[in-house]
């Protein structure tokens, strides 16, 4: 069966510091991978998605970037965090567009 992992689970970082969040998927090959952010107030917003190694699409221009160095690894990064980057970051995967998406446990980021 497929599983999705995210780490760290929680993170407190000062403004201006770098960020690296990692997501890995097991039990499937060539998945579509997604990064979503959930700010206070519940709404989920797609940040990035990837349909293959090295292929990244950005939905919202911002202070963040994403990379997919391996088939089942998706990384969210920032060179300098802003207060507005605080939130709950969720990684997800799907077999392909239009099929069910499955979410990881999330990383709660607080920028101080």
């Amino acid at each position: 069966s497929q599983t999705i992992h995210q780490w760290p689970a929680t993170l407190v970082q000062p403004v201006g510091s770098p960020l690296s969040l990692e997501c890995t998927v097991e039990g499937t090959s060539n998945p579509n991978l997604y990064w979503y952010r959930q700010a206070a107030g519940r709404g989920l917003q797609l940040l990035f998605y990837s349909v293959g190694i090295g292929q990244i699409s950005s939905e919202v221009p911002q202070n963040l970037s994403a990379s997919r160095p391996q088939d089942r690894q998706f990384i969210l990064s920032s060179k300098k965090l802003l207060l507005s980057d605080s939130g709950f970051y969720l990684c997800a995967w799907s077999v392909q567009s239009g099929t069910p998406a499955y979410f990881g446990p999330g990383t709660r980021l607080t920028v101080t």
Partner: protein, 109 residues
């Protein structure tokens, strides 16, 4: 882009009660998902339901794609049903899922 509206935004029930959550979407879709976000933040897949009705235990969902809405039914609610329920549909021409703002369900013992 497509808009997704969920109602009610908040719902408080006594254990054992039944409830219906609604999801309206502004454009035709070819699939729809319901999720439950537990108190730890994990999004749990409930249903993938492009159309018709599906049941899983005390939960069932119905999507009427032609009328652009979906309903999630929870029967005999339990305290563990508490959390936020989201519906999500594909964004037009893109890979993303567009989420509603969710219904926060609180089930009291």
């Amino acid at each position: 882009g497509i808009q997704v509206e969920q109602s009610p935004p908040d719902l408080i029930l006594q254990e054992g009660a039944n409830s219906t959550l609604r999801c309206n979407f502004s454009d035709s879709v070819n699939n729809l998902q319901w999720f439950h976000q537990n108190p730890w933040g994990q999004l749990i897949n409930l249903f993938y339901i492009p159309s018709g009705t599906k049941q899983n235990g005390r939960l069932s969902a119905t999507t009427v794609a032609t009328e652009r809405y979906s309903l999630l039914y929870i029967s005999s609610s339990q305290t563990t049903d508490s959390g936020v329920y989201f519906c999500a549909v594909p964004g037009s021409g893109s890979e993303k899922l567009v989420f509603g703002k969710g219904t926060k369900l609180t089930v009291n013992p």
